[in-house]
């Protein structure tokens, strides 16, 4: 009899306090936090990007630069939001074409810098030390006055691109701008690098 009472009480507590027990991504403080649809352990998170960004450059002696964007969209009903990070998918940060490479800028998002004539990098307006921008796309333009940073290699500490504290049920988009500059010392070819985005519920 005692056991039956215990089970009943347990069920009652679970159902009444499901917000606290059911899912760790829900708010744990009664009356606080954000209200989402993330109940009873049904939290989801999805991540989408364009899959490829084409940043073609016809070099000039002083360095020609092309800047294009990638939109990364995270959708989650996690009431505590999500964290979006990025690394390259390998231990190198260079864009490579056979034995040739366009190095990544060594600047970081906390201390980004202007690209040089043969570098690539990324920037997110209003993030870290990037400043407000606004960044605009360009093809074979002069070296942009805006600052860029390198994306860490897969064995480094991922760069945080976004950190939220609310659900993004209809999707939240972070726009990354990739800049590639090439001068006439860069051999022609098709250079590429893979960037891995990861979104984790908070």
């Amino acid at each position: 009899m005692k056991r039956h009472i215990s089970i009943f009480a347990g069920l009652l507590i679970v159902f009444l306090g499901s917000g606290a027990f059911a899912d760790t991504t829900d708010s744990t403080t009664y009356g606080s936090g954000n209200y989402g649809n993330c109940d009873y352990g049904s939290c989801t998170i999805t991540l989408g990007s364009s899959g490829s960004v084409s940043v073609n450059v016809t070099p000039s002696s002083s360095g020609a630069c092309t800047v294009q964007s990638d939109a990364v969209t995270v959708t989650t009903d996690s009431t505590t939001g999500y964290t979006l990070t990025a690394t390259t998918s390998s231990t190198t940060t260079n864009m490579t074409s056979g034995g040739n490479a366009i190095p990544s800028t060594s600047a970081t998002q906390t201390s980004p810098s202007v690209l040089t004539g043969d570098q690539w990098g990324f920037r997110v307006d209003n993030l870290g030390g990037f400043g407000t921008g606004p960044t605009t796309a360009q093809t074979n333009g002069t070296i942009p006055g805006l600052t860029f940073a390198g994306i860490p290699a897969s064995n480094g500490t991922p760069d945080q691109l976004a950190h939220t504290s609310a659900p993004a049920s209809s999707g939240a988009t972070t726009k990354l701008w990739y800049g590639v500059c090439a001068n006439t010392s860069v051999p022609s070819g098709i250079y590429s690098v893979s960037v891995l985005y990861t979104a984790v519920t908070n």
Binding site: S52, V55, Y191, S192, S194
Partner: protein, 308 residues
């Protein structure tokens, strides 16, 4: 009792299918950043014709220079007008149809990175044909010094830069018949890069000749509705139509297919045909000789049998 309660809660949670394990959810995806680095390339130039020239012909030869073995597109007033290639020295030359009025010509070279290098612009004026002065001028008493108030003033013809499409004028809406290309017939093979198109449409209509989707010539029909103009052909199959562009749409003739085979290719074709004909003759001759040999043997054998 406390322990029993915890077990009960966990069991109840599991039974009801709830997740109680504190594992954050994660999702990852990748993007490939790809950059094609192209070789720098030269900017084309137009060396001929000269700037601000006037040309009464319906077309003009544009020549200039760019990098060797590249494709040059020449635009007229911003619209594609012709495409050609440079030779091993970088020279190019192409015949471009002219529209009435000023024609701003420019040459462009595009590389694999979609970088476009554009030449200097050259403006050529192709004068419109003389238009008879407007009949039935207006009499404006007292407004023209030195002119009698009773004498009608003949208004000068309105300057035009190019013939307007039929429906673009102030003429009330009218219907137009479909233009017809009379010469050449569809399916012809030619060995010259220029072709004269003759056809018929409504009198006074502005007929555009279109080759593979590009307007290559524009002509106004005469009072008998006939038109004739020459167009440049590109190597291979040219799908040619004559069209009227109205505000209500485009009226197109039937498509005329013209195959332009440059003389060198044509010569190769003739040689190939001669070789083929020779081969066929040789085969036929061989078969004839073989038949003759068989018949001869049969005759000889028959004679032998008779002797025996």
């Amino acid at each position: 009792m406390r322990h029993a309660n915890k077990v009960a809660i966990a069991a109840a949670a599991l039974c009801s299918g709830l997740i109680v394990v504190a594992v954050p959810l994660a999702f990852a995806t990748g993007t490939v950043i790809q950059s094609r680095i192209c070789l720098p390339f030269g900017t084309p130039t137009i060396t001929d014709p000269a700037q601000d020239a006037t040309d009464g012909d319906a077309s003009i030869v544009v020549s200039g220079a760019a990098d060797p073995a590249v494709t040059v597109e020449v635009t007229d007033n911003g619209a594609g007008s012709g495409v050609t290639g440079t030779d091993s020295t970088g020279a190019y030359s192409i015949s471009i149809p002219l529209a009435y009025g000023p024609n701003v010509l420019q040459a462009h070279v595009t590389n694999a990175c979609n970088t476009v290098n554009s030449s200097n612009t050259v403006t050529i004026t192709h004068p419109a044909p003389a238009i008879p002065p407007t009949q039935g001028g207006t009499a404006v008493p007292g407004t023209t010094p030195g002119v009698s108030s009773l004498q009608p003033v003949i208004l000068p013809p309105t300057p035009i830069t190019a013939p307007l499409p039929p429906e673009a004028s102030s003429v009330p809406t009218r219907s137009y018949s479909t233009p017809v290309v009379l010469v050449p017939q569809s399916g012809v093979v030619v060995t010259k890069s220029g072709l004269t198109i003759t056809g018929r449409a409504d009198p006074g209509a502005v007929v555009q000749i279109v080759d593979d989707g590009h307007i290559v010539a524009q002509v106004v029909t005469g009072i008998n509705g006939l038109f004739s103009t020459s167009i440049p052909l590109h190597e291979g199959i040219n799908s040619i139509t004559a069209q009227l562009t109205l505000t209500t749409g485009v009226i197109r003739s039937k498509v005329i297919i013209v195959d332009y085979v440059p003389p060198a290719h044509a010569a190769h074709g003739i040689i190939a045909r001669i070789a083929l004909a020779g081969g066929v003759l040789a085969v036929i001759s061989g078969i004839g000789i073989a038949i003759y040999a068989v018949i001869a043997r049969m005759i000889v054998a028959a004679k032998h049998r008779k002797r025996e």
